[in-house]
């Protein structure tokens, strides 16, 4: 920002204008996204205490963001004692937080969402996934269905709760993509990303996972038989149930915290 002698830079109107149009918001959003991903990675046990992260430039290339953005995210993570940076020949950024600590941080993040947000994102996901499954049954090709069945089979492969939640989200995306609608797909990606802390934290029992996996196998059959309306009913019921469980989980977690 160029400050002029007459103090024009201090005018509230101009500051507000700059705040609105500056790309900083975008950068902050991305920094936050990286912080969130690393915390989620630790809570999932994919990133382990003592593990070294890739270099700033490697991370920037992988995440498709500027090095500066990565640096900002790493600084935030350092401040919160999630990782430490060692200097020297064997230097780099190392994970210091335990999975339980990462989970506590995710729980804390939950309070950013209100109960209304949870219900509302849930409503959007119902609308998107029911519309998408009808189109998927009509527009999916035989080769797509092979892929769908393989993705459904992964759900039943005895995954842990967190990995299962991730696999289920990916499966939702695959189904939405079969609708051939870029806009529906984008809406699903955005809704999932808003809901990701809740989805990552919720623990599923073996029984629940088995039930959901079996349900999705039935859904895949309906889609492959091109029975769009039956698939739609299944999806509507499944999502309504999941939404009420997510809201319940949210309430309990926020009250405990």
């Amino acid at each position: 920002m160029v400050e002029s002698a007459d103090g024009a830079a201090e005018q509230p109107g101009r500051r507000l204008g700059e705040a609105i149009f500056a790309p900083v918001g975008e950068v902050e959003g991305r920094t936050d996204e990286i912080v969130k991903r690393i915390i989620q990675g630790i809570s999932l046990g994919v990133l382990k205490p003592g593990e070294q992260l890739p270099t700033e430039s490697e991370l920037a290339a992988q995440l498709g963001v500027a090095t500066l953005t990565v640096r900002g995210a790493l600084a935030q993570l350092r401040e919160r004692n999630i990782l430490e940076t060692r200097r020297g020949r064997v230097g780099g950024s190392f994970i210091t937080a335990e999975p339980s600590e990462a989970r506590a941080m995710l729980r804390e993040r939950l309070t950013r969402l209100s109960p209304l947000d949870i219900r509302d994102i849930g409503d959007l996901r119902v609308a998107v996934s029911t519309a998408a499954v009808v189109l998927a049954a009509r527009r999916g090709a035989i080769s797509d269905f092979d892929h769908l069945r393989a993705a459904v089979a992964e759900l039943g492969a005895g995954l842990g709760s967190e990995a299962f939640a991730l696999a289920e989200q990916r499966l939702h995306l695959e189904i939405v993509a079969l609708s051939q609608s870029p806009r529906l797909t984008r809406a699903e990606v955005e809704a999932q990303s808003e809901m990701s802390d809740v989805l990552a934290l919720r623990h599923l029992s073996e029984d629940e996972m088995a039930r959901v996996a079996k349900g999705f196998a039935e859904l895949a059959d309906l889609v492959c038989e091109r029975r769009g309306l039956a698939a739609r009913s299944w999806m509507e019921e499944h999502m309504a149930e999941e939404n009420s469980e997510l809201l319940e989980f949210y309430r309990l977690t926020v009250r405990e915290g």
Binding site: L44, Q62, L173, A177, P182, S193, S196
Partner: protein, 217 residues
């Protein structure tokens, strides 16, 4: 019937794109050991190819398997020229893109020839609605990845609509499994499957079987 002249110009161009992708794959097969030369060659090939068909293509590049790992080298037309396409290679993340499981990769691996994937929503890669033409990089019988291009469907559909104006019957351009890329028939749009139980016949375009032009009865 033969395709109307204006449609034939378009199908010839798609055929030429396919031939070009095949050439690139053949060239890459001879250069696999050249760690530094390959990205350089691909960068300039992508630039030239995208420059040659700017009203058809969105991106170009290759996914190369050197035996130990598979790397994606892909470029895409952006607001300010050519952008490198970066994808999420972190298996624990939601956006993880294991492109070796994508049809544009597995198609040519299975068939040993060119493959036209899509239209599909490429939500893990370009985040666009595209159709991808790929050809296998083969050293003898050994598969080492694919070279390819992404068609920009908005551009391609507009071209098709303009070209098919005034043709006697209705036409549909599809991929090898009958998914419509562009059509001027009522009720048929990009992304739908062509019902081959309808009265349809193939219009010869003189190229590979990765894509087809249909006349609708």
């Amino acid at each position: 019937m033969e395709a109307p002249p204006s449609v034939a110009v378009l199908t010839e161009q798609i055929g030429a794109v396919s031939v070009e992708v095949g050439h690139c794959a053949e060239l890459l097969a001879t250069l696999l050991d050249d760690q530094e030369g390959v990205p350089e060659l691909l960068a300039s090939w992508s630039r030239e190819t995208l420059g040659r068909w700017p009203d058809l293509l969105l991106g170009a590049g290759a996914a190369i398997d050197d035996g130990s790992r598979c790397r994606l080298h892909w470029w895409q037309l952006g607001g300010s020229g050519l952008d490198v396409l970066l994808v999420d290679v972190d298996p624990s993340s939601m956006g993880y893109y294991d492109f070796t499981r994508s049809k544009w990769y597995t198609g040519p691996r299975k068939s040993g020839t060119s493959h036209l994937t899509g239209p599909y929503v490429d939500y893990l890669g370009t985040d666009r609605y595209v159709a991808t033409m790929t050809a296998p990089i083969l050293v003898g019988d050994e598969f080492h990845g694919v070279a390819g291009v992404d068609f920009d469907l908005s551009k391609l559909e507009r071209r098709f609509l303009a070209a098919s104006r005034g043709s006697a019957g209705h036409l549909a351009l599809t991929n090898g499994e009958g998914r419509i890329i562009a059509s001027d028939a009522r009720g048929l749009s990009c992304g739908e499957l062509l019902d081959q139980g309808e009265l349809v016949s193939v219009v010869p375009t003189g190229t590979d079987e990765a894509w087809m032009l249909w006349e609708l009865g």
